[in-house]
């Protein structure tokens, strides 16, 4: 019973992934693409949580943390790069 529900929700999540992929390819501005990448990371994270429930292992929880951190750092760095043309600010005084 639970396995069927988990597989159905995996199918729904992968459909959502395809929707984000459309916005990632088509998106008119660069910020659309950053937003789609952020959403893809979050959906991947929930897919891994569902997979770990399906296989009944605790081995994938590290990957959940890792993908969360990498998604946040990636989208923050890209947004800063688009806003200022620079990821890490250097001091400009002499």
């Amino acid at each position: 019973m639970l396995n069927n529900i988990l597989i159905a929700s995996l199918v729904i999540l992968s459909l959502a992934l395809f929707g984000c992929l459309y916005r990632l390819i088509k998106g008119p501005s660069m910020n659309d693409r950053i937003m789609a990448l952020d959403t893809i990371g979050i959906i991947l994270l929930s897919m891994i949580a569902v997979l770990s429930m399906l296989f009944r292992t605790e081995a994938y929880f590290d990957i959940i943390l890792l993908i969360g951190i990498l998604t946040f750092i990636g989208s923050t760095a890209l947004a800063r790069y688009i806003e200022r043309g620079d990821v890490i600010e250097r001091s400009n005084d002499e």
């Binding site: 929700s9 999540l13 984000c20 910020n31 937003m35 952020d38 994270l45 605790e58 946040f72 806003e83």
Partner: protein
């Protein structure tokens, strides 16, 4: 033989929670496709997908607590981290979009940030003169 045990009801409730979170993620992807503007799309990309992933992670935490007897601090840490950082990333992205000049939707009627930003720039220029 036919009686429904307590653990089956719990499994059903957890499965419904997971299904609800997946549907919220699907709604967020739908909004990401259909909405007309970066600033409108950021609503769909930030709020509902965050709620969906929070519900799925919480139900995974409950499942592993009740059925595998494993209380995982990593999963709680992931929940807190996603809950804090996903709105921050959305805010930074919207700010970068406005400052780099991505146009608004042509039917949107109110733009409060434009005059405020101009005034702030004028003030900073005056301070530089002094």
């Amino acid at each position: 033989m036919n009686e429904v045990t307590m653990s089956e009801i719990g499994e059903l409730i957890i499965g419904l929670f997971v299904l609800f979170g997946a549907l919220l993620s699907a709604i967020s992807a739908f909004g990401l496709i259909r909405l007309p503007d970066v600033y409108l799309r950021s609503h769909a990309a930030t709020k509902s997908s965050t709620l969906g992933v929070l519900i799925i992670l919480l139900s995974a935490f409950l499942y592993f607590m009740f059925y595998v007897d494993h209380v995982s601090a990593k999963l709680l840490l992931g929940i807190i981290f996603v809950f804090i950082t996903a709105p921050v990333a959305g805010h930074l992205n919207g700010r970068a979009a406005y400052r780099s000049g991505v146009p608004l939707w042509e039917k949107s009627t109110l733009d409060d940030l434009g005059p405020a930003l101009k005034k702030a720039q004028k003030n900073s220029k005056r301070q530089d003169m002094n």
